[in-house]
Symmetry: D3
Subunit: 240 residues, 6 copies
């Protein structure tokens, strides 16, 4: 099997996590997975959505965007079109759910954090990179709140990272780039935690349906990939 | 383990598929899964989206809606608010992908079918019911096209149906109703084909992350459930 | 004179009013007028619009929608287009005014009721059916409020029902279906009360202007029709 | 009976129709009915809506707007809010239907005329004034098309004008101003033709339902009022 | 040099300022600059934008619109299109800034004034006419507040007026009409104060870039023009 | 005079222009002016707006956006709000006009170039940086078209760059950062060409009106600043 990228079936793309890149944000991280580049910023606000007011509990939400020329051909600017696409909304809901899954919302107290994930260059895997980089931005924002004496500890129960896998020419491969993604028969995103659990699994057959064995093979690759991403996250935030 | 619904862990709710309920649509099906009730209609148009023009290939797409008082408390009418929610868009994209996965778009020729899934009463599992009922409406629309001598065969390669499963008080259970869904630790939707393949898997941890073993237990229940749904679909369209 | 429908000039279509069809709504009614089918639900909320806050007075409003394939050819989903058509807005304003005309808003106290009228199948006369069925849903919602000890009486001063009439091939006929409506020279909607008053009259010449004599002939038919509808409403809510 | 305006029950307000007031429009008329002032312009375009293309038939449509401070207290600018209210849409549909009712669309040939009715000052009766003044603007636009040798005759079969009437303190009165309108028990708009026919009747009970006798009394007043308006229209366009 | 308008290089068009033309507004002015005609109304509200609440300070803002047939060919109604164009927003921001520049917002106290500038006929220079006429409307609204004993003085520090100038066939000319504007190489708007200061300068090269000398020549003409406009403003409000 | 930034009155911030930073765009440039950072990409499309079709002439347009956390406190995402602010629209119109002023649209032939300017970090002067960096992206896109043999020469008649100046504590200073901008009495943006002409001048008094002498002093500083920016542009594209 020869992947278009030339990588081994179980090889991640080059991963670079740069913390604290955004001058104004409480927490931030630029993540590069090969040619995919996402800027993640975490912004703290003292008010919470109305359904949480008075509960003592916090909230984490995410927004996702893509610069018009992050892609091979220019795509319309969503602000100019006047609405976010279904794809954008689906992705930002996934990022928000994934980050909340490892956050102790009660321990946050009544504050909100919005994690903005803006894709500067797209080459496949932007939603996964957003989750992985978003966790770093979120962690750093909590650390900022500790320095401000708003929190006494980082209210994160675990790490969370994501990676896409796919069936390419019949074989399971890790971390699809755009070229591989557009040709894969099956495409799956795994959102996994540092302690080994799954918080989201999304598998889609692009052509033929996939089998249970294939799903499990993809999951095994995803664990390999996210283990490496967890190490990079810890390095980026300076823990462990 | 006692489910709120009193059902056995592997028991579907009462399923009723009523074909041809919509006077004007080329194909239609009202599906009830317990108290969830969805009206699915399939509408044929002779033009295709611009990216398919001249390719000789057809298209299947889906739209999803919920009547304002399908739910426990009234929700805003999306037409009045001026936009569809992220949830609505995510669901209708899923329904469309699932139906396309078993459709031979080339064999359709240049026609479009829109499958509208409108929830009359919601009690959990509306997206899964939409897929299961939507397949029946789509099949019947293709049969209509055969009677009109537009097609000579039904361009469907397989059946597709969907069911949700969840971890409830630590145990895997089949076909969550609203009450169970809101208390489940993990919630997964499986879109499976008649021949045993998977076209979509979406698992989400609401609380604790879930394990591989749990995912597989849920998948096993889903196969049981969809096997029953496939029998009902065949009866509804009068095949097999 | 032979109407396309074969009905006598003063004959209503088959009328069926099914109360309490919506599981979650405080009041509901499915109304069928021949092939036209509308689901009416009445939802109680404890807050009122800002212009009524603190006045001790309640409010009744209506929203109207049509499923995309309620019609002969599929129409765009208003939620997807991002706005309600002028026709939709005009109809829901009429339904709201008609229901408020027989409601004792002061006796309601500060609560709001939204009557949603969703057309499942359209074959002419959907706005009139919405008013007739909407009154039943509204009555049942008030009865629900009595069972909840929120109200001690049903704050409705009268019944209200509506029917369309038209001039067809020079002759006045009652309760136009779609086919007749599209060929009528004049089309009029009458919203009448149980005690014989008029709350709305809307007459429109589609071709030649109409005369006073014609208007009065249509009104006479409308009284015949609504008298029958009032009997059905009373039967549906179990009074009189 | 003493009307707030001091007018006799059957007296119109002071009516002024000024033709050709808009420098750029093919036809125009500023109409004043007492303190209500509406600027009507008719704009000719050579293309027709898609449903008429190739039919040889023309189209007349209307748009209605109100300057933000035409009213006692400033109302939001619809362009800034991003949508037209239900009231606006209802009114502009009425104006368009009324003007089309007296236009020979076939004789127009394939051209469109848009009649814009913009309320500069509002004191009740703006929709009626728009119809009355709109007819003058439309007539003048057709005359412009004759001067341009596009038409050889004015394709209008009749005049059309409108006036509101109401029941005020139990008595029928003609041409309600804002103050009277807000206190009337019943409010009706009559769109009548020069030859004595009705093209639209809209009666609404604001409080008590109204009777057939009251409707007829209002109609009689409306005929008096529109007869005067027809004389003014003819003078404004220089015919008869 | 022969201007299309036949005017001398330093000649304004005929200027007419009619104060108090809008029946309901607290202050109003209809301004005509040749064939350009703008209706300016100033509306007082007792609440201020949230960022000013509790500061004791007031606010002045502006909205701008153009009737669809103010122009040579009909332009779309912004309310119907569902959004204001970039040009509209740019102009209303300019008007608001210009009026605030001469208003003592602290002395106003916590009230808001919205100045609506609606173009009835457009022949070039509508934004400048809006500023000049808007100042009159604003002044008159403040005087209204004095009569109501809400203010004891007019909180305006100075007059403000605006005029456009341009380079036409190489020569600087004052107060461009539409025909001249569309052919000018350079077009500049000057917003000047009665005491001789500049509050806004906007110069744009339509063809060749312009020089410092040209900018200064245009400014000199603008001063001539606004001096005349200041006299007219004082006459319109009855001061000086 | 001590500027908050500590810079001399006539000192630009540190300027860095990085060409070819966007993997997919035909031309691109990241510009940093101190802490302001804007990513400019130029995208070529073969079709032109409808008003240019068949004229043989091309078009250059610009869009502007700001990442939500480019600013000190997070601002709403325009795509989520569903519309671009007036400020955004004003800025992107300015960028487009400025770039077109130096482009030979006829020599381009029928192609369009969209220059997207997305602000990654905002510290004042983002519109000016967008113009300066946008010119580099545009030049590089034209060079790309030459390599593709679509053009034989770069159809730019001149360079264009922009810088803001202001009156700070009574003294004119060059290239305001956010902190200085928010305290300046007058703020002006100059869009100048390599050959010394002006294509846009926009001066605004924030407090006191400004004088002609002040405007000229600001212009002199702007020339100093843009001369340096022109050198940097030439270096970035490798000419002169």
């Amino acid at each position: 099997m020869n992947r278009p990228s030339g990588r081994a079936a179980d090889a991640l793309r080059t991963v670079i996590l740069e913390p604290n890149v955004a001058r104004h944000a409480e927490g931030s991280c630029r993540i590069r997975m090969g040619n995919t580049e996402v800027l993640c910023t975490a912004s703290i606000e003292s008010r919470v959505p109305s359904f949480l007011r008075g509960t003592g509990q916090g909230w984490v939400t995410a927004e996702y965007g893509m610069l018009p020329r992050a892609t091979h051909t220019r795509s319309d600017r969503e602000a100019a079109r006047g609405k976010q696409s279904g794809r954008t909304q689906e992705i930002q809901r996934l990022i928000g759910r994934s980050l909340r899954a490892v956050t102790d919302l009660k321990a946050m107290g009544e504050m909100s954090i919005t994690v903005d994930c803006d894709v500067l260059t797209a080459d496949g895997g932007t939603r996964c990179a957003s989750i992985t980089g978003g966790w770093v931005a979120l962690h750093l924002a909590f650390r900022h709140a500790m320095r401000m004496n708003v929190l006494s500890t980082v209210p994160l129960r675990d790490q969370v990272a994501a990676v896409s896998c796919g069936i390419w020419q019949g074989a399971p491969v890790l971390d699809l780039d755009y070229d591989e993604d557009s040709k894969a028969q099956t495409d799956a995103n795994f959102v996994l935690t540092g302690k080994g659990g799954m918080v989201e699994v999304q598998g889609t057959a692009e052509g033929e349906p996939f089998s249970e064995a294939e799903l499990l093979a993809l999951l095994r690759l995803a664990r390999l990939g996210t283990d490496e991403l967890f190490r990079r996250q810890r390095a980026a935030v300076g823990i462990g």
